[in-house]
């Protein structure tokens, strides 16, 4: 058993639980999509009476709600963004801050592996885990929509949603790595980065239509991966997603440099 195998082994149970939750969630949403769409005229006429700002705050859009991807894009994706963000945060803090919490970092750093190699192998395991959750989401959402949704829908939209979720988990995982190395404490890291996740997500959605709060939306990554606009345009924000991934990789690179140089105080 080497470092990579050890990390996979001790995070496997966690990954399987999260995959199960995500798959069941996709199954639930896909299976009710037809039912909700067939009966949504009453809901739409009710929602038409609501102020636009109110609807935006709950990520609701009348035009997109009438499409099969609309229910998932407006409601399902709210949960998914949070789920994927939390998965990235907790996994990264376990892999990095966990070594400081358990004081096993002392053992690891005296073994004949450079700090760079230890860091890289841990990031590799983190990336594969985040990719696997994304892959299961993508495969099951495509499969369940094919099985349960009878109306026409766009696979491009579903693939874009999956991409946004991967970007979200990777972005928050990268922040969690950096904060893990600064705080060297798993619980504190989780609290700080989850705080940023909730601030970014709800700061983006709740302030929709509020002009004064534009700055909050601008610093949120979710502003650049709008699910409503994706459904409207039937096209994803690929460049934005790519740029957020570049930012995440930059944060990981900074974390590696910090890890290479930092004093280990236990």
């Amino acid at each position: 058993m080497n470092l990579i195998k050890k990390e996979f082994k001790y995070n496997l149970k966690n990954l399987l639980i999260w995959i199960t939750v995500i798959v069941l969630f996709n199954l639930m949403f896909s299976s009710i999509t037809d039912l909700v769409n067939n009966q949504n005229s009453l809901v739409l006429s009710f929602l038409e009476k609501m102020p636009e700002t109110f609807l935006k705050a709950f990520n609701l859009d009348l035009n997109t709600l009438s499409r099969p991807e609309g229910l998932f894009g407006s409601e399902g994706m709210t949960f998914m963004f949070i789920f994927f963000g939390i998965f990235g945060i907790t996994l990264a803090s376990k892999i990095f801050a966990g070594e400081f919490d358990n004081k096993t970092i002392e053992y690891l750093l005296i073994k004949p592996f450079s700090r760079k190699k230890i860091f890289s192998e841990k990031v590799f395991v983190l990336s594969i885990n985040t990719f696997l959750l994304f892959a299961f989401f993508l495969l099951t959402i495509l499969l369940f929509f094919k099985l349960f949704v009878s109306e026409n829908y766009s696979n491009i939209v579903l693939v874009s949603f999956s991409l946004y979720l991967f970007v979200t988990e990777f972005f928050f995982a990268s922040l969690s790595i950096l904060i893990s190395l600064i705080t060297k404490n798993k619980k504190l890291t989780n609290s700080i980065v989850m705080g940023i996740l909730f601030f970014m997500y709800f700061g983006y959605s709740v302030t929709q239509g509020v002009k004064n709060a534009e700055i909050i939306r601008k610093i949120s990554i979710f502003n650049y991966m709008s699910t409503i606009d994706t459904i409207k345009n039937l096209n994803g924000f690929y460049l934005n997603s790519f740029l957020i991934l570049v930012i995440s990789i930059t944060v990981i690179f900074i974390s590696m440099k910090l890890f290479e140089k930092q004093n280990i105080l236990l």
């Binding site: 080497n2 001790y10 358990n102 053992y107 073994k111």
Partner: protein
């Protein structure tokens, strides 16, 4: 060779070490002695690459620590003061994990160490007692037959029987030419196995030299109950407390004192090591 010269490290405003210097040659064991908080662990943490010094230098095989630690890690064996391994891992999994870091591990030597130390392989690490955790720590530090051994209070938590086995192992590695730094706050164990010593207090080395010169400093407290006091015992330092004679005998004079003692009558005898702090106080007198 390990060279530590004028090493200084502060944690913000708090002192870690102020001025620590010593050298350890091949086939030599240096005892780094000092009370808790003296700076032993800070010195070790610089040598093991965990901390950067503010001043001075720490060299292992002429490589500057912590900056060139990767060049010598293969040849370092380290026993931490506080043993922390992966709680969920079984000991046999841990040994497999530990093997993955080294190119060539002598499996026969690993088996030999397991047998000598009496390590239980199937238990999870979190289920082990402090002493058993320490045994695993000893194994992972010695199994790759390192040239440099850095031991931070390695006998803490070990029972006397295992302690003895551990000393034998360390002496075996010494014969193999290892350079050994042995940190301890127990003077008697340093006297037992080290060749040289460095006494550290408040972050400074206050005395160093060969182990024979340490014997001039170290002493035993000998409590003798219902002693029939004779003139010959007068030349040794003593005090009387509730009918108990308490002699302070330097280790170098111990044989002489015991020879005098057997010539007289007493009911019971207790031999104790004085607290390290008391010895340090004497040095400052």
């Amino acid at each position: 060779m390990i060279i530590v010269k004028n090493l200084k490290k502060y944690y913000g405003k708090n002192r870690g070490i102020e001025d620590v210097s010593f050298e350890i040659n091949e086939g030599e064991i240096l005892g780094l002695i000092g009370p808790n908080g003296a700076g032993k662990t800070t010195t070790i943490r610089i040598l093991t690459g965990f901390l950067s010094p503010d001043n001075g230098k720490a060299l292992i095989s002429n490589k500057k620590m912590p900056f060139e630690i990767d060049l010598v890690k293969e040849n370092i064996g380290y026993i931490p003061g506080e043993v922390n391994f992966y709680g969920e891992m079984r000991v046999k999994e841990f040994l497999e994990f530990n093997r993955s870091f080294y190119k060539n591990i002598d499996l026969n030597y690993e088996k030999e160490l397991i047998k000598i130390l009496g390590i239980e392989l199937n238990k999870k690490f979190k289920a082990l007692s402090l002493g058993n955790k320490k045994k695993v720590a000893i194994l992972q530090a010695l199994v790759h037959k390192p040239k440099y051994l850095i031991l931070d209070e390695p006998t803490n938590g070990l029972d006397p029987l295992v302690q003895q086995k551990f000393y034998e192992l360390i002496l075996k590695h010494k014969q193999m030419g290892a350079v050994i730094l042995f940190s301890s706050h127990i003077l008697s164990e340093v006297e037992k196995i080290c060749d040289t010593f460095a006494m550290i207090k408040d972050g400074k080395v206050i005395k160093s030299g060969t182990i024979d010169s340490l014997r001039d400093i170290s002493k035993k407290l000998i409590y003798i109950y219902d002693l029939v006091f004779t003139e010959n015992l007068k030349r040794f330092d003593y005090k009387i407390k509730e009918n108990v004679y308490i002699f302070e005998i330097k280790n170098n004079d111990l044989k002489d004192f015991l020879n005098e003692l057997v010539k007289t009558e007493f009911k019971d005898i207790e031999i104790k090591n004085p607290a390290l702090e008391d010895i340090f106080l004497e040095l400052y007198k």
